[in-house]
Symmetry: C2
Subunit: 463 residues, 2 copies
C-alpha cells in the first residue's frame, strides 16, 4: 500500500492509477445515499481535492456518512479512473479510519463567507479555497524571488530588524524597548533615560534595509534583502499594513538603467514562475478573483517595459484632456491617479518613470547633472500603479553630505554610510519591492489584509 499525497496523484497519475493507495486528509464535503457515499478530502499538499467513494460494505459506513466538515481521516483503497465525472479519478475506499472528528460548530461550512468575516478566523481561513490559493502562491513567489537572485549569484543579506537609526524620512517608526513603560528610568534632567534600555540607546523597528545592505553591496557586488519592515502609520487603507515584507536588491558597478533592467527581468521571472509552478491556484484567481488576471500578466510578460522621464510623463499627462483630482505640474509627486493613467491609458503596459525632482525624493538618490532631478525610478503597472521604487545612489561624498544637510540629517549618525563613499564607493543602484503588493498583483486580491497570514494594522494585532 503506497502512502501518497493528493499532489502526487494529480502530478503523476499514471504511477498510481489502479493501484492500492493510502491517503490522509481533511473532509471538505460528505454526501451519502443508502448504499454508498462520496467524500471530498483535501490533504494540504495540493489545491485540488480528491473524491473518495465508500460503500455500505465498510464496517463504519454509518459513522463515515455523518463525518463533520474538517474531520481528519485516513483512507486505504484503490485509485480508479472516473470518466465523465467532474474529476478524472477517485479513490474507492476499502477502509476509512477517523483520525480526528471536527466539532459540529466548525465555522467554515459549505457556504460563501465574506473576506471580512474570514479575517476574524485567520487561523482557519487557509482551509478555504481562496486563502489556500493565496498563501500557497505567496510561498511559491517568495521562493521564486530567492531563486531569481541566487541563480544570478546575488548574496542574500539579513539586514537588522531592530535599528538605532532614525527614520531616514521613510515613515513613522515603532519603538522597541525593554524598559518598564509604567515606570521608565529618568536621567538627571528628568528626561527618559534610554541609556538604561536594553541596547543602551533608543531603538526602533526598521523601515528599510537599504542603507545597511549598501554596505554589503560594496563587498559582494550584487546583494539583496528579503525581510519584514514596519510602518507605524495610522493609515487604514486596503494597501497599507504596519508589518510587511520587502525585497531590496542592490547592485554595484551599475547605474539606473541597469537597475531598471534588473527590475524588469525580475518581474517577468516571478510572473512566469508563478504561472508555471502554481497553475491551479493561478487559474482559480483568474476565474474567481479577477477575470482580467491572465490578460494582465500575459501583457507584462510580452511587453518591453516603457521608460520615460518624470518630466516627459508630466508633459504627457498635461497634454491629455483629463480632469485629475490633483492637477499635474512639474515638481509635484505623482499621485496614484496619474500613475495609473500613465500605465493604463497612455501606454497600456508597465512603465518606468525616472529622474524625479530632487525635492520630493530621498537624500541618497544620485543628483543628476541638471541639479534639479535625481536618478530615481518607479515602476508603474496597470491595475496597481507603483509596484517598485528605486534609484541610483549618490556615490559622491561631497554631494551626499550636502544633500544630507539639506534634508536636516545629522551626518555623524551616518558615519558608516558615508564611509562607503570614502573607500572605493563605485556607482551602485537598487530598488525596493513590497512583497505583499506583488502578491496582490499576482492574485487580484484587493486588500493587503488578505495576503498576510496574520495582518497587523492600526488597532489590530490578533492571533
Amino acid at each position: 500500500m503506497k502512502l501518497v499525497t493528493v499532489k502526487e496523484i494529480y502530478r503523476e497519475t499514471d504511477l498510481f492509477l489502479n493501484q492500492k493507495v493510502e491517503l490522509s486528509g481533511w473532509v471538505r464535503t460528505v454526501r451519502t445515499s443508502k448504499a454508498f457515499g462520496f467524500i471530498e478530502i483535501n490533504d494540504g499538499s495540493f489545491f485540488e481535492n480528491i473524491q473518495v467513494v465508500f460503500e455500505e460494505s465498510l464496517d463504519n459506513f454509518l459513522e463515515i456518512g455523518k463525518l463533520t466538515i474538517s474531520s481528519a481521516i485516513r483512507i486505504q483503497g484503490e485509485l480508479v479512473s472516473s470518466p465523465g465525472a467532474k474529476q478524472p479519478f477517485e479513490v474507492k475506499a476499502e477502509n476509512i479510519e477517523i483520525l480526528a472528528l471536527s466539532a459540529a460548530d466548525y465555522p467554515l461550512q459549505k457556504k460563501r463567507h465574506t473576506f471580512e468575516y474570514l479575517r476574524t478566523i485567520a487561523h482557519l481561513r487557509p482551509r478555504t479555497n481562496t486563502f489556500a490559493a493565496v498563501f500557497r502562491l505567496r510561498s511559491v513567489v517568495a521562493y521564486a524571488i530567492h531563486k531569481f537572485f541566487q541563480e544570478k549569484g546575488y548574496v542574500y543579506v539579513h539586514t537588522p530588524i531592530i535599528t538605532g537609526s532614525d527614520a531616514e524620512g521613510a515613515g513613522e517608526m515603532f519603538r522597541v524597548t525593554a524598559l518598564d513603560m509604567a515606570l521608565p528610568p529618568k536621567d538627571e534632567s528628568g528626561n527618559l533615560d534610554f541609556a538604561k534600555d536594553f541596547f543602551g540607546r533608543e531603538t526602533s523597528l526598521t523601515v528599510s534595509g537599504q542603507l545597511n545592505v549598501e554596505t554589503y553591496c560594496m563587498a559582494f557586488r550584487n546583494v539583496y534583502t528579503f525581510g519584514p519592515t514596519f510602518r507605524a502609520e495610522n493609515s487604514n487603507t486596503a494597501r497599507h499594513a504596519a508589518e510587511f515584507w520587502m525585497i531590496e536588491p542592490e547592485i554595484a558597478f551599475a547605474d539606473l538603467s541597469d537597475n531598471m533592467n534588473l527590475a524588469e527581468e525580475m518581474m517577468k521571472f516571478v510572473i512566469q514562475y508563478a504561472l508555471d509552478n502554481a497553475p491551479e491556484e493561478m487559474a482559480f484567481f483568474n476565474k474567481f478573483v479577477d477575470k482580467t488576471l491572465f490578460d494582465r500578466l500575459e501583457n507584462i510578460l510580452s511587453s518591453e517595459f516603457v521608460r520615460v522621464t518624470y518630466t516627459e510623463a508630466v508633459e504627457m499627462l498635461q497634454r491629455e484632456n483629463v480632469k485629475f483630482e490633483y492637477p499635474v505640474c512639474w515638481g509635484m509627486d505623482l499621485q496614484t491617479e496619474h500613475e495609473r493613467y500613465l500605465t493604463e491609458k497612455i501606454f497600456k503596459k508597465p512603465v518606468f518613470v525616472s529622474d524625479y525632482p530632487k525635492d520630493i525624493k530621498a537624500f541618497y538618490m544620485r543628483l543628476n547633472d541638471d541639479n534639479k532631478t535625481v536618478a530615481a525610478m518607479d515602476l508603474l503597472v496597470p491595475g496597481v500603479g507603483e509596484i517598485i521604487g528605486g534609484s541610483q545612489r549618490e556615490e559622491r561624498l561631497d554631494i551626499l553630505q550636502q544633500r544630507m544637510q539639506e534634508s536636516g540629517l545629522n551626518a555623524e549618525d551616518y558615519w558608516w554610510y558615508l564611509d562607503l563613499r570614502r573607500y572605493g564607493g563605485v556607482k551602485h543602484a537598487g530598488y525596493g519591492l513590497g512583497f505583499e503588493r506583488v502578491i496582490m498583483y499576482l492574485t487580484g486580491m484587493a486588500n493587503i489584509r488578505d495576503v498576510i497570514s496574520f495582518p497587523r494594522t492600526a488597532n489590530s494585532c490578533e492571533f
Copy 2:
C-alpha cells in the same frame, strides 16, 4: 570585449582564456617594480581574487602603481594562463580606469585584525576574506533551506513579527510601541493605557512563530517559517543575540519519529549543499578557522543519527565515571556539558535525545502515556551541543487545556490555538533550528556576533 565577473572566469575558464575581457573590482593588493606591477582585485562575485599584470606602457602606469587598497577600477585586457604561479591565470591589462579612489586611511590594510576590532567596522568587514566567506555561506545556506523545503512541497509561511501573545515561557520579550514613552497615556486608575497604543493593546516582538504556523500546518500539511525572532535576555555570551533568524518546520499526520527523520534529512541536505555550492569558502574555513571542520561534517553526512530517550541518556551519563559540574539526575534539564559528552564522547556522532520530563518542557508538547514525559526531541551535534529542539504537539484538547492550566496560562488568550484541536486537529510535530547556530556550525566561527551582519546584543545596536 566581454564584460565578465571573476566567478565566471574561475568557473568557466575555457570560455575566456586568451580572450579580451573587461572586469571591474576593488583593489586588494598592489605591488610594483620599475617596469611592471601586479594588482589583485576582488570583484565581489567570488571568494577568490584575480591577478592583474600591468606594464609601463600604460598611460597611467605611475598612478596605477600608487592605487590605495579598496579603490575601484575597471580593467580591459587579455586573460592569459600563468603556469607555475600561485593562480592559474591572470589578466594582462591593456587599459585600467580608476573608478573610485579609496582614502588612504582605509582601515583594512593588509594585516590581520581581531574579530573584536572588525565588529567595530561591521560595515567594512565583509570585504575581508573571513567575513566574505561567512556571509556568502550564510546566503547559500539560507537558500539551501528554502530549496530543501520547497522541493518537498512545504509552504513557506511568514508568521507575524509583532505579536499580542504572551511569551509562552520562551523568553523575555521586547515591547513594541508607538506611544510617547515620556508621556504615555494613563487610564482612569492611573495605569498605562495600552488601548491608546497603535494596535490598541500591548504588543511585543515574537520569540517563535510556532503557534502561528501550527494553524497553517492544519491547512497545508507541511509548512515552515524562516524569519527573525527576538529575546530581550541580558546574556552576554558568544552564543546569544537579541535578534536572530529561526527556521520552524511543522508537519501534519506526523509524529516525533517523522520529525526526527525530517531534521536528519534536512541537516544532511544543508551540509552537502554548502560543500557543493561554496567549496572555496568551506575550504577556507577548514584551513583557517577550524581544522576539524571537514571531518566533523563528513562524520554527520555518513552517520545515521543516534536516537536515545532522555531516560536512557541520563542512565548512560550516570554510568560514566566523569565529574560533571552539574551532577546528572532524572528530571533535570541537560546542560551543555552533558549534551556535548553524549554526542562527542559516548556516540561520537549526532544524537537525538527524546521524551524529556514534562516539567522541564513547554505546555504544547505531547504528553506520553507514562504521564511523566513528553514527546520532545533535541538534536545534539559534536562541537556545539543542541542545534535543534522540537516536539510532537499535544493534539488532544482536554490534555492541552490541562497542561496550559498547570503552566499558568490563560486559555482565553489561546482560543485560536485550542480551535486547532477542535476542528480536525491531527497529530503533528515540528522543530526550531536557530539559523545562526547552523552557520556557526558550518563555519567553525565561535561567536554569534561574527555570523550576523549587524548583530544586536545587550548594549549594542550599532549601524
